[in-house]
């Protein structure tokens, strides 16, 4: 009899009798592929954000709405004070806090424009920079739409 096929057959016989090894070959593999397929992502999704709107004008509300409806962020209850934002950041309840100052609406029409402050939980440098980039893009897009609407109004 040929020695090598015999050894192969003997080894398979060993494996067959070792049910633990067989189970080990099947289940952890399936488990790991499933978990890694879903978990191994560096997408930044569902970043929790809370807005402190000190201006409470139609402009600030429209900005808040555009953030609320954006699929990239998880909009949490609006904050009542800066201290609340700091506390919720400490607790980990939110990862980004946005503060719209009182003079937001009036400064929109000025040359230098209005300001918006964002407080970012910077522990994970990567995802926080991505998230703040998203937020910047959302705010810019809102600003451009706002500007366009303004110019439309002026034309009429």
């Amino acid at each position: 009899m040929k020695p090598i096929p015999l050894m192969i057959w003997k080894e398979f016989a060993h494996i067959r009798s070792d049910s633990f090894s067989i189970k080990l070959m099947i289940f952890p593999v399936i488990l790991q592929v499933l978990i890694m397929g879903y978990a191994l992502t560096n997408e930044v999704k569902n970043t929790t954000i809370s807005v402190l709107d000190l201006s409470n004008t139609s402009a600030s509300r429209s900005l808040t709405e555009s953030i609320r409806h954006n699929y990239l962020f998880k909009y949490r209850t609006p904050a009542e004070s800066i201290d609340e934002i700091r506390m919720r950041l400490d607790y980990g309840d939110i990862r980004i806090g946005m503060v719209i100052p009182e003079d937001f609406s009036s400064r929109l029409h000025e040359k230098d424009g209005a300001q918006v402050q964002i407080l970012i939980d910077g522990q994970d440098a990567n995802s926080s920079s991505v998230a703040s980039g998203y937020l910047n893009a959302i705010i810019s897009r809102w600003a451009n739409t706002f500007l366009k609407n303004q110019m439309e109004k002026k034309r009429h």
């Binding site: 978990i35 230098d112 994970d124 990567n126 703040s132 810019s140």
Partner: protein
């Protein structure tokens, strides 16, 4: 009783000191991992190669292309005049985005009546890069075009960002706590379960059991050396972090020690539990890895943020002890908060630990 426990402890230390390979792994690997994670793991987007398709080059398009090249984000790999199948281009060249100008772009631009579109095709195979590109290209191009047309774009809203807890954005500061969780778990769970199953395999555990030693004394005696090793490793990680990466603990060191001890007990209980189920070292190793190491590395928020996980995985991560430990020590090291903020994860971690200890003691009594 203490004399007997001390005897087992010193026996175990003798075993460990003779196994210098494991010792090297235990002491040197954390340092290596720290340097790996601290320096290598960065996901900056810079100099992404892009292709330009410009059927009718003009001064305007050339200026736009030059401005794109000058941004930090992009690096223009080349310009071609036409393409029938842009998807083919992605496959042939390794570009991340293709900018396509319409023919007669310049006249459209100055005409005002027709808008002058620029089509951007983005390589979406890496969703992270793809999404970032999609969100940043529009404002980027708009700024470039407006600058070229010399239109003063009034600033409507300017954003003042303020980064808390890690102002210098050091990735090491984020990874070091996670590394502590992984290493502590590895030593406590893996080495302990290996040590006990080794004795089971060799038959020496039976001999210990027929000696005047009582089972709890054997267990405690075997666990203590690994507890000490794990604690040493934790201190080593923090020291290396402080020296090489300038990591400073913003919060209370005692609370850090306390919560790490709770986590260590939890990890040890896991190791014990596995050693009661496994009959050989090989089995123990095969069980430890998917049951504790994998969830700790992937599902605890160590590298991959929990918020990005799908819901059913987030549920699983809520029973992984490392999830809570990470919340606690990140809170202490990075945020500088104390028990008043972190009481919830602390209590949960303690409960998981007590449950695992109880379970493993019960199983051990039954098995023996």
């Amino acid at each position: 009783m203490f004399k007997r426990i001390t005897a087992i402890v010193s026996k175990e230390f003798h075993h460990i000191s003779r196994d210098w390979q494991t010792l090297i792994i235990v002491l040197i690997m954390p340092v290596i991992m720290m340097f790996l994670y601290g320096y290598a793991l960065t996901m900056d987007l810079k100099d992404l190669p892009v292709l330009i398709v410009d059927p009718s080059p003009s001064r305007e398009t050339t200026n736009i292309v030059k401005a794109i090249d000058e941004t930090e984000l992009f690096c223009v790999a080349g310009t071609i005049h036409s393409s029938d199948n842009p998807v083919e281009l992605f496959k042939r060249l390794h570009v991340k985005a293709i900018f396509r100008f319409k023919p007669d772009f310049a006249s459209d631009l100055h005409n005002g009546g027709n808008s002058a579109p620029i089509q951007v095709l983005i390589d979406g195979s890496d969703p992270n890069t793809g999404t970032i590109l999609r969100n940043t290209i529009e404002p980027l191009l708009m700024n470039i075009v407006l600058e070229i047309l010399n239109i003063e774009q009034p600033t409507v809203v300017s954003v003042q960002p303020r980064i808390l807890y890690n102002p210098e954005q050091k990735s090491a500061l984020y990874f070091v706590p996670g590394l502590m969780a992984v290493i502590l778990l590895m030593i406590s769970a893996m080495l302990t379960s290996l040590a006990i199953t080794r004795e089971k395999e060799l038959g020496t555990l039976e001999q210990l059991l027929v000696s005047p030693l009582r089972p709890p004394e054997i267990i405690i005696g075997k666990i203590i050396p690994y507890l000490i090793l794990a604690a040493l490793d934790g201190i080593l990680i923090l020291l290396v972090g402080g020296v090489a990466f300038d990591i400073e603990v913003a919060g209370d060191l005692w609370f850090l020690a306390l919560s790490s001890s709770i986590y260590l007990f939890t990890a040890l209980a896991m190791g014990l539990l596995i050693s009661t189920i496994a009959s050989t070292q090989q089995q123990a190793m095969m069980m430890v890895l998917p049951a504790s190491m994998l969830p700790t590395i992937i599902l605890s928020g160590f590298i991959f943020p929990l918020s990005s996980l799908p819901l059913f995985l987030q549920t699983i991560s809520s029973i992984v002890p490392a999830t809570y430990y990470l919340q606690i020590i990140r809170g202490i090291i990075l945020k500088g908060v104390g028990l008043s903020v972190l009481w919830q994860p602390t209590v949960i971690l303690m409960s998981i630990g007590l449950f695992l200890v109880f379970l493993s003691i019960k199983k051990f009594r039954v098995k023996l």
